[in-house]
């Protein structure tokens, strides 16, 4: 343990008095560092999250297809995705480093594992909730199995899937800030740097605020997609 000989004088560079005094939010710093710090971090964050959700969706879809067709597979797949979700994110990152190194791959593996439980469970619940009479009518009208799945079961599972996608996206954007432990990317990176520099408040608030804003925008876009893709859910009997 290091015992300081006297009061530590933080070095915030040669910025404004706001920066020197570590004020709550120094707009001049944000202006000065948007281009070299915040914007690149934001774009990296979008990339990290988008890849995680896309890959997670693809894997969850394949798993749900299997769990729906062969009911015996559902409990083990569900349990595995539950288990992955219970591992604390920091621990998971640390556990993966020896296996996959300090890189984007490690981050993506962790982020993808967290999307699986929500996407898999929602998708399979959505598929199961399709009423039996609707499936019977489809089969009786001469739909093949594939047609029944693609034209009836999958569209009817869409509201549940999109609800899951919203939760998965927002939580991935949030968890992705922790990825900066492993790789210097995303909005977590400026936050970590600021913490190391005696918690430079402006940088923490700006990067954190961007992560929140990104989550809200992504959620808003998914709500719009939901409205466009599932028009029948909003038409109840007048």
């Amino acid at each position: 343990m290091v015992v300081a000989a006297g009061p530590v004088i933080p070095d915030f560079g040669s910025g404004s008095s706001c920066e020197v005094n570590n004020g709550w939010f120094c707009t001049d710093w944000v202006h000065a560092h948007w281009g070299d710090t915040l914007q690149p971090a934001l774009l990296q964050h979008v990339e990290l999250s988008a890849i995680a959700v896309a890959v997670g969706l693809a894997i969850a879809f394949a798993l749900a297809l299997a769990g729906f067709r062969w009911r015996l597979l559902d409990p083990p797949i569900g349990a595995l995705s539950d288990f992955l979700y219970t591992i604390p994110s920091l621990a998971l990152f640390q556990l993966l480093v020896p296996l996959t190194g300090l890189g984007v791959l490690t981050v993506e593996i962790a982020l993808v594992s967290y999307t699986l439980v929500i996407l898999y469970r929602n998708l399979i619940e959505g598929l199961r909730s399709v009423p039996a009479d609707v499936v019977e009518a489809a089969r009786g009208s001469g739909f093949t199995r594939t047609q029944t799945f693609l034209r009836v079961e999958l569209p009817l599972a869409l509201p549940a899937l999109l609800a899951g996608l919203r939760i998965a996206t927002v939580s991935t954007i949030s968890i992705a800030t922790v990825a900066a432990f492993v790789v210097a990317k995303g909005l977590g990176n400026p936050i970590f740097i600021a913490i190391k520099q005696d918690s430079f408040k402006t940088e923490i608030l700006a990067a954190g605020g961007l992560a929140v804003a990104l989550a809200l925008v992504a959620d808003g876009l998914l709500v719009l997609a939901q409205r466009a893709l599932t028009p029948w859910t909003r038409r109840a009997r007048a």
């Binding site: 009479d133 609707v134 499936v135 009518a137 089969r139 009786g140 001469g142 739909f143 009836v152 038409r235």
Partner: protein, 312 residues
């Protein structure tokens, strides 16, 4: 696409579920002539729904055969077979994510009909089942139970199938709307002349809509297959007599209307239109305690009279 009405023949059709002693449908043999409505009726456990689903192979035959216009259902591709048979079920099973028009267009779409053709066909069918064309763009959640079953009927008719299977189509609908749907179904049948197999547990409905009635007893054996009049007048055994009810003589009165009765000279009394059933006319006499009823034509003019002795 398929065309007019087809003859349907059950030949020793049997369904035995694995692990069960008793058959669900036991050597069922009957012929439904082209264009007729055959009602399968019986207590639960009589295998009537099973018998129906054997026809479109939602349930597979254990032994025996079913032929549509001479071709065995087993020799046809199962998907093609189902597309050529209209299918209506009690819970309707409309696709909730599709508009009424898209629901009606289900089978034509499977046949690759263009969108414009489907739009025209769906408008025709909506009119046929008594719904306004403005319903085309609605979703099933926006319809009442009766309206949904009308759309279900339109969907089943859209592929112009020579055979229709209807599994308790009106059972989940309230009695007033049910009676109206039965009437409209019979009028519609006059118009389209399909062969229909209609399952119900309601003997009154069977008598009303059926050209022929097949009564199944538990264990899926055919008890009697005949016209409604013959079943009411000459039940073959106690089971059938009991199933049709102690009031079968009264039920038989529902098979004729006043138009088929020799009328007495015009006289005063409560007025009833000529298309009233004899059963309802008798009920009217009892209710009003009148000696006779004045029978009117379509324009409301009195054309004759009836009294109890004339009716029974």
């Amino acid at each position: 696409m398929p065309g007019q009405a087809a003859e349907l023949v059950f030949n020793e059709a049997t369904k035995l579920y694995e692990g069960r002693e008793e058959a669900a449908v036991d050597r069922l043999s009957l012929t439904v002539p082209a264009g007729e409505i055959c009602v399968l009726v019986g207590p639960s456990g009589g295998g009537k729904t099973t018998a129906l689903k054997l026809v479109n192979r939602l349930i597979s035959l254990t032994s025996g055969d079913i032929r549509i216009d001479g071709t065995s259902i087993l020799e046809q591709d199962v998907v093609e077979l189902r597309r050529s048979i209209g299918y209506v079920i009690q819970q309707v099973g409309l696709f909730p994510h599709m508009t009424v028009e898209a629901n009606i267009g289900t089978v034509p779409r499977l046949y690759g009909r263009p969108r414009s053709w489907i739009r025209t066909r769906s408008a025709e069918l909506l009119e046929l089942v008594g719904l306004d064309p403005s319903y085309a763009k609605r979703y099933p959640a926006q319809l009442s139970g009766g309206e949904r079953q009308r759309v279900g009927l339109a969907r089943a008719l859209a592929g112009n199938p020579p055979l229709m299977l209807m599994d308790e189509p009106f059972a989940a609908i309230d009695p007033i709307v049910r009676a109206r749907l039965q009437d409209e179904f019979m009028r519609l049948h006059e118009e389209v002349q399909k062969t229909v197999v209609f399952v119900t547990h309601d003997i009154d409905e069977a008598i009303k809509v059926g050209d022929r009635i097949a009564i199944l007893r538990p264990g899926g054996r055919l008890a009697q297959y005949d016209t409604p009049a013959a079943i009411l007048e000459r039940p073959v055994d106690d089971f059938v007599a009991q199933f049709v009810g102690a009031d079968r003589a009264l039920k038989a009165l529902a098979l004729r209307t006043l138009a088929e009765v020799e009328l007495g000279p015009p006289a005063d009394g409560p007025r009833v239109p000529r298309d009233t059933t004899v059963r309802d006319a008798v009920s009217k006499l009892i209710e009003t305690r009148a000696d006779s009823l004045a029978v009117t034509d379509d324009d409301g003019r009195i054309v004759g009279s009836v009294w109890l002795e004339k009716l029974v």
